[in-house]
Symmetry: C2
Subunit: 217 residues, 2 copies
């Protein structure tokens, strides 16, 4: 990570994106690899009839747009105003050839994305709506926890209900109802639609991982 971070941080290549602005499109040539400097980015795909499925949200420090082939198989858009660093892929691959650490880091980043996708597959294939929303909130908490060390008491959603729904394979109504349900049983409190106070973390975790065998060991 250190290696790539250094390479990616070239300040000249950092670009600002507005809310909902497209960073790259599905099927677009994959000329760059991207790193979130600030803000939030979403990646996803569309079916022709308009159904949308989001793969992932990327927060500051995350790398996205890393592809095997020569085109992007997902679109990427800014969820919030975001600064994104661009690294020319050809440059990166040349470096990887010379420097084993860069190559290893490219592999690591891809494998990390893969791990997240595998977890998401379990969520989409086998979890109920309530479990999905609980898992989602918990993943946001864990991401935040990684940064600071103070226990997280509140979550600020940077994405709309529509984004959450398309990420979790639900409708916005079901997401809204699930959040209301979590509030009714006093697991969370909704200060407003985008600001959530965490009341009972243990209960949330039970819901989210009922019972992910990995966590119970």
């Amino acid at each position: 990570m250190i290696q790539l971070t250094a390479d990616l941080a070239l300040p000249g290549l950092s670009m600002p994106f507005a809310r909902n602005e497209e960073i790259f499109a599905e099927e677009e040539p994959a000329e760059f690899v991207y790193k979130v400097i600030s803000g939030v980015v979403r990646t996803g795909r569309l079916l022709a009839d308009g159904r949308r499925q989001l793969n992932a949200f990327y927060l500051a420090g995350d790398v996205f747009g890393l592809e095997r082939g020569d085109v992007h198989r997902c679109a990427a858009e800014a969820v919030t105003e975001a600064n994104v660093a661009l690294i020319r892929r050809s440059t990166l691959e040349r470096q990887a050839e010379r420097n084993g650490l860069v190559a290893q880091e490219l592999w690591n980043l891809t494998a990390l994305t893969l791990e997240r996708m595998e977890q998401h597959i379990m969520l989409l294939g086998r979890k109920s709506a309530l479990e999905r929303v609980a898992s989602f909130l918990l993943s946001l908490i864990d991401a935040k926890q990684g940064d600071g060390c103070a226990p997280v008491r509140a979550i600020d959603l940077s994405m709309s209900r529509s984004d959450v729904a398309d990420y979790l394979g639900l409708t916005i109504e079901t997401v809204s109802r699930s959040l209301s349900q979590l509030e009714r049983v006093k697991i969370i409190a909704l200060a407003n639609a985008r600001h959530i106070n965490l009341l009972d973390r243990k209960a949330l975790k039970n819901l989210a991982t009922l019972g992910d065998a990995l966590r119970l060991v």
Copy 2:
């Protein structure tokens, strides 16, 4: 691929597995990387209450068990009798450090798996039962097509309805009903439960990719 294939083909390390035999377990130390020589392998995870989600099926030539961390995050089992080549991970990583082509191939294989997972996420999050089954059949056809060049007219399912269901995020009953439905509209014919004749490939593709934007361009 060529590079790794050569490395992986060391015949001394090929191991036979019986139907349903475990190849590695969830959370087991990831000591080896695996390559299917013959037969079919499934990978997946369990929730504590017994719900199962399969990530992927691997056919002859496919590599699986490639991890970033030091433990397997999925279990792997033989679907049919299978021969699997094992490569010690430490060996592979040492080679990757010295030989850029090996490193690149490791990255390629991980990225290929990632691509498949992303496609599966769309299937699980946004496709109906019928679309999922159609997509599944089509992916089997495409995998077969890759080998020979004659147009595929029949599919032999090596996995049970239960495996298909857990892969597609459905129940066995829904899988069965979807297949019957495909038969009723003359898209397929079921010679028996595991042997499917393809009658209308175009209709199957329409169902599966209605309308995957990628394919419509």
